[in-house]
């Protein structure tokens, strides 16, 4: 097979999930990558060095400002028409989830979302019901449109490749129906949630948004990212982009520390593939303890400052 990975980036650098998607693509055949953006040649150069990438298609156009699916879809269709890939992949992120189904609809294909494994070139593994069941699904479409859960595949090496870059086919991009206005990105020096080695998450037990400072202090000592349960987001403690769970982000760090989180099914869906899970909760019956490697039954307002003190450099 020959696969196309749609690179996710901000015109400056590659989003890490693309490296995971490339690893998935390698299991399916030769790997080409599409870099579409505005003054994004740097990204094309970065991806050309990624291990396993054979070809980079570059589409540099003002029209791709904001990476709108209404503008990118005609490019994807033109690219598919020319190259006839067997698979088109992207990360299962806000970007990939927005784009892949739209392209699939135009190709008359039924897409496969958020895969966690590949059995063969037409058979994929994914979770349903918030991870409470695992489905193996075979696609009968001639081209497979797939979004890839980043945490389920290793990141491809960022060195060793020497792919040739060529221009992607020209498509008529005539988008008068949508316009990118702007972004408000959360500023943080901490690692990005879905690729961090350590994640510390707070739940309803944090009581308010200000108390998350306790987690930020500990996170800074441990070089960790900070997330939250849906309950904490619903209560308005923290923004939605921190949400871990079925309807938020899926993480699988080496170490996950759940603080004041009871462990609702929806939350477990987002973190139970973490290698080591620690739970700190004053309720000894909290379901989170059933999935944790180390459980500490204690008031978080006592435990977290103590832990911060002990992890100080």
């Amino acid at each position: 097979g020959s696969t196309l990975v749609i690179a996710e980036h901000d015109n400056e650098k590659l989003t890490p999930v693309t490296l995971n998607a490339i690893t998935a693509a390698k299991k399916l055949g030769d790997v080409s990558c599409l870099v579409a953006g505005t003054q994004c040649a740097k990204v094309a150069e970065e991806i050309s060095k990624v291990d396993g990438v054979q070809k980079v298609l570059l589409a540099d156009n003002e029209a791709f400002k904001g990476f709108l699916p209404e503008s990118l879809t005609p490019l994807l269709l033109a690219t598919q028409k020319q190259f006839n890939f067997s698979h088109i992949l992207a990360g299962a992120t806000a970007f990939g989830k927005n784009l892949i189904p739209r392209v699939a609809a135009k190709l008359d294909v039924s897409p496969i979302s958020d895969i966690i494994g590949i059995k063969s070139e037409d058979t994929f593994i994914r979770t349903i019901y918030a991870g409470n069941a695992v489905q193996t699904v075979k696609s009968n479409d001639t081209v497979k449109l797939v979004s890839v859960r980043g945490t389920a595949f290793e990141a491809a090496g960022t060195e060793g490749g020497s792919a040739a870059t060529e221009n992607a086919p020209t498509a008529e991009i005539n988008n008068s129906i949508s316009e990118f206005v702007g972004q408000e990105l959360s500023k943080s020096d901490r690692p990005e949630l879905t690729s961090a080695g350590i994640v510390i998450s707070g739940g309803r037990g944090m009581k308010n948004g200000d108390n998350f400072k306790l987690l930020y202090d500990l996170a800074d000592n441990m070089k960790a990212a900070v997330g939250a349960s849906r309950a904490a987001v619903d209560a308005g403690f923290v923004p939605n982009d921190m949400q871990i769970g079925q309807t938020g982000k899926i993480v699988a760090p080496d170490l996950y520390i759940a603080v004041g989180i009871s462990g609702a099914i929806q939350h477990l869906a987002g973190m139970k593939d973490s290698k080591v899970i620690v739970a700190i909760n004053k309720d000894p019956d909290a379901p989170i303890f059933q999935v944790s490697d180390y459980g500490l039954v204690q008031d978080l307002f006592k435990a977290i400052p103590e832990m911060t003190e002990m992890t100080k450099k």
């Binding site: 699916p69 058979t123 459980g295």
Partner: protein
């Protein structure tokens, strides 16, 4: 311009139910299990109702593609305030393989027939977790898509849409007609009151089939197996922060 809004209302296993895999490992147990409207679709319905209350919408039509029982879900939508409902009845055997691929084709046809201006759906259904139907419907119609929406405002002839993205929030401007998919923070859905539940029983509900819309529901994918996820064994309790920190040091995390 007063909008005609179509809202998708999927019937799913209630979010609080612990699903169980069927012994034949081809699906999950649905018989005798509590079902409800997909929570994100409730948010979509609420948003449509708020638009109607602001006089931005003239009519709100609820649609559900599924077995006979989907009509219960549609009655809930009508009790929330939808003016009428369309039940696209899918036989249980066909429903097992019905996917967003098919549903989006049906929705696109209804849009044409009913002269819809705005489609509002949940961003994903909590059963198959696909997150596809809105994007595919928009693609089929060549309409713009405002996905994962946490705020929407109508300004002149377009919509200003605030979207939940991975690193924060994003604003896009989409022209009307459009497809929107609701994220969690868009609103808090209302509860249907008893008088409204009674009223809903008298509201019109059309029953159609996929064939009525010329949509072929033959499967594009086969589910080979559905299994329980690997279970995680509960580990040990530690007695103190000190002991916990020592374990993390032993694990090389600190």
């Amino acid at each position: 311009m007063s909008l005609r809004i179509l809202v998708g209302c999927k019937r799913v296993i209630d979010y609080a139910v612990k699903v169980r895999v069927k012994p034949d490992k081809l699906g999950v147990v649905t018989d005798g299990v509590k079902h409800s409207m997909n929570p994100f679709d409730e948010i979509a319905m609420e948003e449509a109702m708020r638009m109607k209350e602001k006089k931005l919408a003239s009519e709100v039509i609820a649609v559900s593609c599924g077995p006979q029982q989907s009509q219960e879900t549609l009655r809930t939508a009508l009790a929330m305030g939808a003016d009428r409902a369309i039940h696209v009845k899918i036989e249980p055997k066909d429903y097992e393989t019905l996917q967003p691929f098919h549903v989006s084709k049906i929705l696109a046809k209804i849009v044409e027939e009913e002269k819809i201006d705005l489609v509002v759906l949940g961003k994903q259904a909590i059963d198959d977790d696909c997150n596809q139907t809105g994007q595919m419907t928009a693609g089929l119609l060549d309409w713009p898509q405002g996905t994962f929406v946490s705020n929407v405002e109508k300004v002149d002839g377009h919509l200003n849409v605030l979207r939940e993205i991975d690193g924060g929030l994003e604003t896009v401007k989409v022209s009307i007609p459009a497809v929107l998919t609701a994220d969690l923070r868009l609103n808090e859905p209302r509860y249907a009151t008893l008088p409204n539940i009674m009223k809903a029983k008298k509201k019109p509900m059309a029953v159609k089939s996929a064939a009525d819309y010329g949509v072929d529901t033959s499967p594009r994918q086969e589910v080979l197996s559905v299994e329980d996820p690997p279970t995680r064994e509960a580990g040990q309790k530690v007695e103190s922060v000190e002991e916990l920190v020592q374990k993390l040091k032993d694990g090389g995390f600190i």
